[in-house]
């Protein structure tokens, strides 16, 4: 049977490809120097010279958006990778160990789940410090419970399967069982979660930057650009449009990609 083409998958892939392409292009070409101020040209309307206009210092908005895309993707990918690695390890350990240790670990994860995202991120940034590293770590820690829970339930489910019992019977270590025998089966769901989580991470990073707790000036970030635009938004509404649209496309793209992958790989394999 021919599969129906998934709209989410296509749309998500296109949006993510657009943003990644913009990020890559920024390394070889940007319309202008994103840091260069031009006070004569403050709040220029979008036009031939500045495709998306200029900000309150006369800096080219398009160039700043392009440079900021590097940091958004860097923080998104790094934080989710760190969170996924740590979270998966914790979840797998809890499921394989069993006993008191399992309850202790899972109650701990429950506790972390009780923190609203922005609250946990703000608290962690207070300790870890503002800036890129602080954001990556804070968002990475925020991602741990999601991946722990996912891997925990998958490992528990797989533990009952015959192939795991077979591996146990010929003396595989627990680590080998998880890494060599279970991981291939868990990979589709992990990749799906990875993609959706990047969307969430980019959103969280931009929220931190908006509050002045994330990426620090002069490094541009979409959240900070919007935070600066807020002071002038009533007089110059157009400066708030472009960074928001790009941010929306990024988050929506990764979310749709995650949903699309989920429809394609996870739901089919569970049937």
């Amino acid at each position: 049977m021919k599969r129906k083409r998934s709209f989410s998958l296509t749309a998500g892939a296109v949006m993510v490809a657009l943003i990644v392409a913009m990020c890559l292009v920024s390394f070889v070409w940007m319309p202008m120097d994103p840091e260069k101020m031009d006070t004569a040209n403050r709040f220029a309307l979008p036009g031939a010279q500045h495709l998306l206009g200029t900000d309150q210092f006369g800096r080219d908005v398009l160039s700043r958006i392009m440079e900021a895309s590097r940091w958004a993707l860097l923080v998104g990918v790094c934080s989710v990778t760190a969170g996924a690695a740590a979270g998966s390890a914790i979840g797998a350990a809890a499921a394989m160990l069993g006993g008191v240790l399992r309850s202790v670990i899972m109650r701990f994860i429950d506790g972390m789940m009780s923190f609203p995202g922005i609250l946990l991120a703000m608290m962690l940034v207070t300790v870890l410090g503002k800036g890129i590293l602080g954001s990556v770590l804070a968002i990475g820690i925020f991602m741990i419970p999601t991946f722990s829970r996912l891997v925990y339930s998958m490992v528990l489910e797989n533990k009952q399967r015959l192939y795991v019992k077979a591996a146990q019977s010929y003396g595989c270590s627990r680590r080998r069982i998880v890494l060599h025998h279970m991981l291939p089966d868990m990979l589709p769901r992990l990749i799906t979660q990875f993609s959706s989580s990047i969307g969430g991470a980019v959103l969280l990073e931009s929220s931190l930057s908006f509050l002045g707790l994330g990426i620090q000036p002069p490094t541009p970030s979409w959240g900070m650009m919007l935070s600066e635009a807020r002071q002038f938004v009533l007089s110059y509404p157009y400066i708030a449009v472009a960074p928001g649209v790009v941010l929306l496309i990024t988050v929506l793209g990764f979310n749709l990609l995650g949903d699309g992958l989920n429809d394609r790989f996870v739901k089919r394999s569970s049937r």
């Binding site: 109650r107 701990f108 429950d110 506790g111 972390m112 009780s114 923190f115 609203p116 995202g117 922005i118 609250l119 703000m122 608290m123 962690l124 940034v125 207070t126 300790v127 410090g129 969307g199 959103l203 931009s206 929220s207 908006f210 509050l211 002045g212 707790l213 959240g223 919007l226 935070s227 635009a229 807020r230 938004v233 009533l234 509404p237 708030a240 960074p243 928001g244 941010l247 929306l248 988050v251 929506l252 979310n255 749709l256 949903d259």
Partner: protein, 320 residues
């Protein structure tokens, strides 16, 4: 039933302990000396040392934790050094603002997601379903601060329907208060829609697919009656649980709209605490909000236990 109840209570207590522990330990790691922060950089070392002793900072960390938790249980949440007031008093002052915004936005989100989610599930793949799924995706992806700015521009500045910023307390009239929190609540509600529509739609789809719907049809019940009497009742559990959790989480998630719309709520208090490194205040806020999340999720679980006959009679819910 009783066994289940006791187990659920114990697990809530354990999570509460974990939450308070995480909060305390994480904030203990803040670089810098708390006593120095309170007194400022000009303070003499003797004064700092004396205050350290008075604040109990020389004790081992577990004694400090027990002191703090003991105080919290007795109602003494410590004194904020920025405001010079009791943390509990500050929380009580700010809570009405945050709570009314959170409650209104959840009301909007629950009503809209129930209508959209149920109709979308009944008419799967129809234009309405596509609309619901679009709202769901946008709700999950729209940055709240951007949406807040757009709403402010259009509804407050251009149309003039709502005040641009500021909060009018309930004492100055219900209508004025409602108008001042309407826009922030809508912004938060759209974010919540992303989560809630997904849950409502998928639990409704699952319910419609169950065997009891087939037997209702076999015994000749009109579809509408079957949906209202069986499907809706079975589909309502997951959304109730999630809505409760989200309401509690919103108490800690309002910081962005409070900043943009200049509302004097808990979120702004927290931002001040983070910026000024007011550890006592931050500890208090974080503990308060996470405890609310744990308690609300306990209460919603208890409600679900009371509503769901399968759990009430002590059987495990059969889900296939």
């Amino acid at each position: 039933m009783l066994k289940l109840l006791v187990r659920r209570l114990l697990s809530a207590l354990a999570v509460l302990f974990v939450v308070s522990f995480i909060t305390f330990v994480v904030l203990l790691c803040i670089p810098g000396d708390a006593a120095q922060l309170v007194l400022g950089v000009d303070a003499t070392p003797e004064k700092v040392a004396a205050l350290r002793e008075a604040m109990g900072l020389n004790e081992p960390w577990y004694i400090q934790y027990l002191d703090w938790i003991g105080g919290v249980l007795r109602g003494d949440w410590g004194t904020s050094y920025v405001y010079g007031e009791n943390v509990w008093t500050l929380l009580c002052q700010r809570l009405p603002v945050t709570f009314s915004v959170a409650l209104l936005s959840m009301l909007i989100a629950v009503v809209l997601s129930a209508v959209l989610g149920i109709l979308a599930a009944l008419k799967k793949d129809s234009p309405l379903d596509i609309l619901a799924r679009t709202v769901m995706q946008l709700g999950g992806a729209l940055p709240s601060f951007w949406l807040a700015m757009l709403f402010m521009l259009f509804f407050a500045s251009y149309l003039g329907w709502f005040p641009i910023t500021g909060y009018t307390p309930m004492s100055e009239g219900f209508g004025a208060c409602l108008r001042s929190i309407a826009l922030p609540s809508f912004v938060l509600a759209i974010g919540e829609l992303g989560i809630l529509i997904r849950i409502v739609r998928s639990s409704m789809l699952t319910a419609l697919d169950q065997d009891f719907m087939l037997s209702a049809r076999v015994k000749g019940l009109p579809p509408r009656a079957a949906i209202v009497r069986y499907a809706l009742r079975s589909a309502v559990i997951a959304p109730i649980t999630i809505s409760g959790m989200q309401l509690a989480k919103l108490l800690g998630g309002t910081v962005i709209v409070e900043t943009i719309f200049a509302l004097p709520g808990i979120g702004r208090l927290m931002l001040t605490a983070v910026e000024q490194r007011d550890i006592t205040l931050l500890q208090g806020i974080v503990l308060f909000i996470t405890s609310m999340v744990v308690l609300v999720s306990l209460v919603t679980d208890l409600i679900v236990m009371a509503v769901n006959p399968a759990i009430r009679t002590g059987e495990e819910a059969v889900s296939r």
